[in-house]
């Protein structure tokens, strides 16, 4: 197949765009500077379509589709912003906030949190859904890092970076639905994990204050997930 045949043309928000057949709507949109909010997506990691913030309308489709895992198709007509989409996205955010205990004012990630930034950007003014206030544990057994499940949005970035980039596969998910927890090994305390290399990539990719460095708590430090695409290229270059 010639390279030309691999190109698809579609419209996103009434803008004509072209993309490779293996690209997602999200990739095509971002290449054309069309903003779609995301949370579980992170450049350099595989896609899971977990957070549902990137929902878009595709003409002819009966439901909203996640842009991060939907491939472009010839003649597709995509809408990224509409009153309906905005309502859904705000509701998704409200569900995140209601599901666990996100208290920004005393959070280690306050000011550097992707969930918080999204709430600001998408204009989430209040949460209509009743807060669940689950009693969730904090695992501070690792000498350098802490996991606080109260602040976890189950994006699984930690699970993916640990498996796909570091290759340690320390992180996994247990349970179902809102009761799911990210766990280290077979739910051993993080500090007793035999597979963890203490590389800290999971901390750097975590969008909230769920994973953080103990000594940096209160230092207003930013996380640095931008190294991922480079690491990925390095991994792919390996024999």
């Amino acid at each position: 197949m010639s390279p030309e045949a691999n190109i698809r043309t579609l419209t996103i928000d009434e803008v004509d765009v072209s993309a490779r057949a293996d690209q997602t709507i999200l990739e095509a949109a971002r290449e054309h500077n069309i903003a779609i909010p995301t949370l579980c997506h992170l450049e350099g990691l595989s896609e899971v379509g977990a957070c549902r913030l990137c929902l878009v309308e595709v003409k002819g489709a009966r439901r909203l589709l996640p842009a991060c895992v939907t491939r472009v198709e010839e003649g597709m007509e995509v809408t990224t912003h509409s009153p309906k989409i905005d309502r859904y996205r705000t509701m998704v955010l409200e569900l995140f906030f209601a599901e666990r205990n996100h208290v920004c004012s005393v959070c280690v990630a306050n000011g550097n949190c992707e969930l918080q930034s999204l709430a600001l950007r998408l204009g989430m003014t209040h949460v209509e859904i009743p807060y669940q206030y689950p009693q969730l544990p904090v695992d501070a057994s690792h000498p350098r890092f802490t996991v606080d499940h109260n602040r976890c949005v189950l994006c699984t970035r930690c699970v993916r970076v640990c498996g796909e980039i570091e290759g340690a596969n320390t992180w996994g998910v247990m349970g179902r639905g809102a009761q799911s927890l990210v766990i280290t090994d077979l739910k051993e305390p993080w500090g007793q994990s035999e597979t963890c290399t203490s590389c800290g990539k999971c901390v750097q990719v975590c969008p909230t204050g769920a994973l953080f460095e103990k000594n940096r708590a209160g230092m207003r430090t930013q996380k640095h997930p931008e190294f991922l695409p480079y690491l990925r290229i390095m991994r792919e270059g390996e024999p």
Binding site: S105, V106, V108, N110, P137, V138, D139, A140, S141, P143, T146, D148, G191, K214, N215, A217, G218, M219, R220
Partner: protein
């Protein structure tokens, strides 16, 4: 027929409180109770949190004095790390605490109490507030606003923001001070000192009008407790605790704050959520003591800065013994502000204040830590126990206002017995009952602010609970 008078809410103090006065059949006040009607629950819901989050969490105890909690909490965390923090970090925290003391004292004196002092206890309630004062005494109101602004601005310059700065951490602070900010702070100090001295000038004159109030505003013997440095002088960041009796005798010289549980007990009463700390060797309520500005100036050898020492001598010359009337808290507050501004200048002038090494790092080295410092209202103690991973398993906070609880209750009774009698319940009488509480500057909630305009209801009830009479304002 015996009666009950309820003052609810008590206005112009920080938080929500209620006062109940019980009158006998002759209309004489038999008992007075100061109720703090809200439960904050910090000691309980902090359990399970990593200890290094405690400064930020407990700062939310109070929107007026978050810095006090940041400091006491950071010190408790220092003890858990078992580190000696860099000297510059201790001095930066000290300056922050002094700035906090100035802004909080300015709030208490000018915003909450000065309407009573300048307009009189019997002035109409709608006039007894800072906004009315801006019309009647504009230069005084301006000094009050400027002094509060000064303290808050210093906090903002050093720690990033005025309310709930996240700057102090276990082991030190998160950022060094730079020369530009230091010079900016030093540049603001002379104007602040001048404003405080002006205030002391008019307040001394005004005090003469309040001899009746001085006589009955919590004017009784108690112990006094506060922090001193190793020379026995006033100190607000770090030192040992001293207890004196009402004759001025030092009954405990150098108590270690970390061992507070050996000499401070906490009693409870069914009518309020606030505990009643007492000096253990004398039991409860015999061991009732007062903390805060009056206590600190009563028990310290002197202030340790030239202008404040002049004022301190003048203050202490009013009585050969410690000053016992809580009315004198007002003047003590002003003297402490002067001392704080001078001390701030001295600490900031030190060359080492710009050192970059501002934090010691370590992991959990002790499963228990106590941190104590002088908050504007008195000695503040944070005590945490953690597991081996540093998660809080138990916390105890002794808030400065709590120490004064027993004295406040007794003070209300004293004032009420003097001013409230029989069927006549006059606004000015009730205001005096509230005003005695304001001398202590209690911080009850401690984050809601009630100013003058809140409604106040007095209910006179028969023994069977039926309403006999109601006086309402607001």
């Amino acid at each position: 027929m015996s009666r009950t008078i309820v003052i609810d809410p008590v206005t112009r103090l920080e938080g929500h409180g209620k006062i109940t006065l019980r009158l006998d059949e002759a209309g004489v006040v038999q008992d007075a109770m100061f109720h703090v009607t809200q439960l904050r629950g910090f000691e309980k819901f902090c359990e399970g949190r990593p200890f290094y989050e405690m400064p930020n969490i407990t700062a939310r105890v109070c929107g007026i004095c978050p810095v006090s909690h940041l400091i006491a909490s950071s010190k408790a965390c220092d003890a858990i790390l078992a580190v000696k923090i860099p000297p510059v970090a201790a001095n930066l925290r000290r300056v922050l605490n002094l700035a906090q003391l100035i802004q909080s004292h300015a709030l208490s004196f000018f915003y909450l109490s000065s309407p009573d002092l300048l307009l009189g206890m019997d002035a109409p309630p709608e006039e007894r507030n800072i906004l009315h004062l801006a019309h009647t005494h504009p230069s005084i109101a301006a000094d009050g606003v400027a002094l509060r602004q000064f303290g808050q601005r210093v906090i903002e310059l050093m720690a990033g923001r005025r309310i709930h700065p996240g700057w102090t951490l276990p082991g030190g602070v998160n950022e060094a001070l730079n020369a530009e900010k230091r010079d900016q702070i030093l540049g603001m100090i002379p104007a602040a000192v001048a404003a405080i001295q002006r205030t002391l000038g008019w307040f001394r004159d005004a005090t003469e009008k309040f001899s009746a109030e001085i006589e009955v505003f919590a004017n009784f013997p108690t112990l006094f407790l506060g922090t001193i440095d190793d020379r026995g002088l006033a100190e607000c960041y770090d030192g040992s605790l001293r207890v004196i009796d009402s004759e001025g005798n030092i009954i405990a010289g150098e108590l270690e704050p970390a061992r507070y549980a050996e000499y401070i007990g906490e009693a409870t009463e069914p009518f309020t959520y606030m505990k009643f700390p007492y000096y253990k060797p004398l039991g409860y309520p015999g061991g009732t003591y007062r903390v805060g500005p009056l206590a600190r100036l009563n028990l310290a050898g002197r202030c340790d800065t030239p202008l404040a020492d002049v004022e301190w001598r003048r203050f202490r010359a009013m009585s050969p013994r410690p000053l016992l009337s809580s009315f004198h808290y007002h003047q003590a507050r002003l003297i402490e502000m002067l001392h704080a501004a001078e001390k701030m200048e001295r600490v900031l002038a030190d060359k080492g204040i710009l050192d970059k090494h501002v934090r010691a790092t370590a992991s959990v080295n002790s499963l228990e830590g106590v941190g104590a410092a002088e908050a504007p209202r008195g000695t503040l103690i944070h005590h945490y126990k953690v597991d081996e991973n540093g998660l809080i398993v138990w916390a105890n906070l002794i808030i400065a206002t709590g120490h004064n609880n027993a004295a406040m209750n007794r003070g209300i009774l004293q004032v009420a017995r003097h001013y409230v009698q029989g069927d006549e319940v006059k606004e000015g009488m009730l205001n005096r009952v509230e005003a005695v509480v304001r001398t202590f500057d209690p911080c009850l909630s401690c984050s809601t602010h009630a100013m003058g305009q809140m409604p106040l209801t007095v209910e006179v009830r028969a023994p069977n609970g039926s309403l006999v009479r109601e006086v309402r304002r607001g």
